[in-house]
């Protein structure tokens, strides 16, 4: 019957928000549980657990992933950025500032996912227009705001980026 020694563990080394972390994790460990429970980074939230609501989005090597269905072991050697890594601790990231300024959140549960997804878009080569923003954020659900303030918040940051490029 079952051995009481517990499941096997695999070693994982990741860079989370600029801090290197090495841990032994269960093979089935999900990235979101690793972040929330092992590292105490509870800013990342979970909702649908089916990769369709976008709440748990974090960046792995700059690419947005649903951490609810991403194995911690697959992040081995990667750079992971969560909502806690957006601000430098002194001033808010322009996206965070714009979300607050535009009332782009209410309950805030979906917000870390929207912020990380938006960051991935704005970190890209092209400054997105409204259509590109809506297309990019289609996979993130918000039940409070009705979305328009979120679009406006991201648009404003994009416009400032565009201004920076040309000015």
């Amino acid at each position: 019957m079952t051995e009481r020694s517990g499941p096997a563990r695999v070693p994982v080394s990741v860079d989370v928000n600029g801090v290197s972390v090495s841990r032994q994790v269960e093979p089935r460990s999900l990235l979101v549980d690793f972040l929330r429970e092992d590292l105490g980074l509870t800013g990342t939230k979970v909702s649908c657990e089916l990769q369709v609501c976008g709440v748990c989005t974090v960046l792995v090597d700059g690419r947005p992933v649903s951490s609810c269905t991403f194995l911690t072991a697959d992040a081995d050697g990667a750079d992971v950025t969560t909502v806690e890594g957006l601000s430098d601790g002194q001033t808010l990231h322009p996206l965070q500032e714009s979300f607050v300024e535009n009332f782009a959140l209410q309950c805030g549960f979906c917000t870390p996912g929207f912020l990380m997804m938006s960051k991935a878009l704005l970190d890209g080569d092209d400054v997105p227009d409204r259509e590109a923003i809506v297309e990019h954020l289609e996979g993130n659900i918000c039940r409070c705001t009705g979305y328009e303030p979120i679009v406006e918040a991201v648009e404003q940051v994009a416009e400032r980026l565009r201004g920076g490029v040309h000015g």
Partner: protein, 759 residues
């Protein structure tokens, strides 16, 4: 007038915590030594439990305990604030697929989940009633073979039209309400036009994105619970009854909620976590999945028959409604939802003769309870589509039939209740003007609008405290829960305004039954109005105490001390700020002063309801005839809030509520397929996404200072949802030429409407 802090779209301090990831939600809360729970759930709709074998699960790695109904039989193992019919764990039989049968407690979530699979429950199937027709049929199997004592909830008696819940023969009717006046039959006989129709309102899920969760610790005769409860005080009452504890020994705290929308009203998972802790002696955390949350609480679906008689000029002569709601296996708050639906179905119109009858019906489906709008969306769909169909028959516009019948300010729509405290005809003109201005002349285009008035605010029992600190900063304490709607920011604005202090020195603390003062509920759009009033009184009380203390310091009469912003002035013009008054009165540079504000049914809030929440919306739709996909071309709303304490926050509530309404109008419906739901997940239960955004959004605010709340304010947050369904149905009818009789208007249904007309 002349306010400085209220009436401005100030930045919400809670939003800053939320964008950094620092905000604490219940799901983030841990307790030392905490174990984790997972729930064993029924896999059939209606069955007798013949045995539960927990041996294999108990032997699983890391398993601490498996709790079944037998383990908690010494407790009062039921809850429910109106009818305590809701068993914490299925006892004797299961009444719906997904009902909790046992709780596995283990060292980790994964270990608990593994062991859930090892619990063997044996059943003997019973015939089930899966919908209202089956439940109401002669000799239908009973969902409950016993009746339960009502808890005597005072507010429910006041809000419902039932004088005494009379004992009747057992049936599947959980609750029945009738309201009416005049001679309906005689009025129908005289009517020039009589219009009759039946509508079906879908079974919905609120989908607050944070699923229900709680962490509970029962220790030495005291219970501490942190949960996702909108109404921590109501949950405390249920838990105190379960464990026979004094209220003072039950502490319920609600941190930031990841959405509520009414779906986190009243007791949900708190008893499960609490009994698991009581059995194991350890703090226990229980977090549901979205699927489990859907099986915990959904929205009442409804079938509504409506008949209205009109004079030839469109004047309403009489209306009759019959509402049947599928309330699922347990009553929860459905009796109140039904009572409200009956009050709200006929609309803010002059109705000389009315008969409205509603039944809340038990079925072997997941339990229904509160949802934003409280029965209004269901009833309004019937009443408003009936009115628009009558306008068609009478050859007048949808706007004109409403202009003819809408009540004016001060008129009563429910006899003996507060008269309407809003200029609803003016709100209607704002919507019609905006919609018509951008009307497009293209095929398959239609506009629709809808009006509603909800008896809002619930029962007026609110308290608030302000604590003036030795440095002049201010703590505001309220039992009202911040679930996204913005009360934490709004209450700070009210306190800053009343005390004349800077917003940055005000901190609001909410929803901890052992710390913050009593608040009955956070629902029915009540916080701005009722907590706002209690807070104004608390600020006045604090000022009065500070004047008394200053009078001692000045050695003058209290009446000679004047109020200043953030301080006081003595008779000789000497000024002291609040902090100086506190420090000097106590000496030793310390101390604080507490102001208390109490609100009950008295004075301005004597007459029920405390205020009316108006819903006034318009939509324009453009339909793709090939696919039946409905695009929302225009969304127009009016927030008739009296005074907007934070205008951007009001707009946010309105767009959010309207968007949820568009979801149920166009996409959302839970579908039962046999004993279980076919779509208990966010893939198949589709909620609005960013690409569904209306092309034009016009959010207007009507501020006429006509509410009983602070500065003339009234509540917001539900109104805009209530009439959306009817407005969309009317717009689709005008675009397709055929009237739908149900929501949501999915592409298939709309395609069929179009196809039926053209074939």
């Amino acid at each position: 007038m002349g306010e400085n802090v209220v009436g401005r779209s100030v930045r919400r301090p809670d939003l800053i915590e939320k964008v950094t990831g620092a905000a604490e939600y219940c799901v983030d809360v841990t307790m030392p030594g905490m174990a984790h729970a997972k729930v064993v759930r029924s896999d059939r709709a209606h069955a007798r439990i013949t045995g539960i074998d927990v041996a294999a699960a108990l032997a699983g790695p890391g398993v601490v305990a498996v709790v079944t109904a037998d383990d908690i039989s010494a407790l009062y193992a039921r809850f429910g604030h109106i009818v305590s019919d809701h068993w914490i764990l299925a006892t004797g039989k299961v009444r719906y697929y997904g009902e909790p049968v046992a709780i596995v407690v283990a060292e980790t979530v994964a270990a608990a989940a593994d062991a859930v699979e090892l619990v063997r429950v044996s059943y003997a199937d019973l015939p089930s009633v899966m919908d209202i027709d089956a439940a109401l049929a002669d000799a239908a199997p009973l969902v409950h073979e016993q009746s339960y004592d009502a808890t005597g909830d005072e507010s429910f008696k006041n809000l419902s039209h039932v004088d005494d819940p009379a004992e009747e023969a057992l049936s599947n009717v959980a609750h029945e309400v009738t309201v009416g006046w005049g001679d309906v039959d005689a009025a129908f006989a005289e009517a020039a036009v009589v219009v009759e129709n039946t509508v079906h309102f879908p079974m919905l899920y609120a989908y607050a994105m944070e699923p229900y969760n709680a962490v509970a610790s029962y220790h030495e005769g005291a219970l501490t619970v942190v949960s996702t409860a909108q109404h921590p005080y109501m949950v405390r009452d249920d838990l105190a009854r379960v464990f026979s504890l004094p209220l003072s020994r039950v502490r319920v705290t609600s941190p930031y909620l990841g959405g509520g929308y009414g779906s986190k009203s009243y007791t949900k998972v708190e008893p499960l976590a609490s009994v698991a802790s009581w059995v194991t002696g350890r703090p226990v955390k229980l977090t549901l999945t979205v699927e489990e949350s859907i099986y915990t609480t959904r929205v009442d679906s409804a079938r509504i028959w409506v008949k209205s008689g009109f004079a030839a000029d469109g004047t309403i002569l009489a209306r009759e409604f019959d509402i049947v709601m599928d309330s699922g296996a347990y009553a929860d708050n459905s009796p109140l939802v039904m009572a409200k639906s009956v009050n709200r179905c006929f609309g803010p119109y002059r109705v000389p003769h009315l008969r409205a009858h509603g039944r809340s019906v038990y079925t072997n489906t997941s339990p229904a309870s509160s949802y934003r709008g409280f029965g209004a969306p269901q009833g309004n769909l019937a009443g408003e589509t009936n009115l628009d169909q009558a306008a068609e028959r009478l050859g007048i516009s949808g706007a004109d039939i409403r202009r003819r019948n809408l009540v004016r300010k001060g008129e009563e729509i429910l006899p003996g209740k507060r008269g309407i405290d809003a200029d609803i005809p003016a709100d209607l003109e704002m919507v019609v003007e905006s919609l018509e201005r951008d009307r497009k002349d293209v095929p398959y285009y239609g506009i629709g609008f809808g009006c509603s008035a909800s008896d809002a605010g619930a029962y007026p029992i609110s308290t608030a405290q302000v604590r003036i600190q030795a440095d002049g900063s201010v703590l505001v304490l309220s039992g009202s829960t911040e679930m996204g709607q913005g009360s934490r920011s709004l209450l700070a604005q009210v306190a800053a305004e009343e005390l004349g202090v800077d917003l940055s020195v005000v901190k609001v603390v909410q929803s901890d039954t052992s710390v913050t003062p009593y608040e009955r509920t956070t629902g029915a759009s009540r916080t701005s109005t009722l907590v706002g009033l209690a807070l104004q009184r608390a600020c006045a009380d604090a000022r009065s105490r500070l004047r008394d203390m200053a009078a001692e310091l000045y050695s003058c009469a209290a009446g000679d001390v004047r109020d200043l912003p953030g301080g006081v002035a003595g008779p000789d013009g000497r000024e002291l700020d609040f902090g100086a008054v506190v420090r000097q009165w106590f000496g030793g540079s310390a101390g604080e002063v507490t102001g208390v504000g109490l609100l009950r049914r008295d004075g301005a809030t004597q007459q029920m309801p405390p205020f009316w929440e108006v819903g006034m919306v318009g939509v324009a739709v453009e339909i793709d005839p090939e696919t039946g996909v409905v695009a929302v071309d225009q969304l127009v709303t009016v927030a008739d809030v009296g005074f907007a304490i934070n205008p951007r926050a009001v707009e946010g509530q309105d767009l959010g509520a309207a968007t949820q309404g568009l979801g149920s109008a166009l996409h959302e419906e839970l579908v039962y397929d046999g004993p279980q739901l076919a779509n208990a997940n966010v893939v198949d239960y589709r909620v609005p996404r960013m690409k569904d955004l209306p092309r034009k959004i016009d959010l207007m605010i009507a501020e006429r200072r006509d509410g009983v709340g602070p500065y003339g304010a009234k509540g917001a947050g539900e109104g805009t949802l209530n009439p959306i369904g009817g407005a969309v149905a009317a717009a689709v009818a005008r675009a397709t030429g055929r009237w739908p009789d149900r929501l949501p208007l999915t592409p298939e249904r709309v395609w069929r409407l179009i196809n039926g007309r053209t074939s």
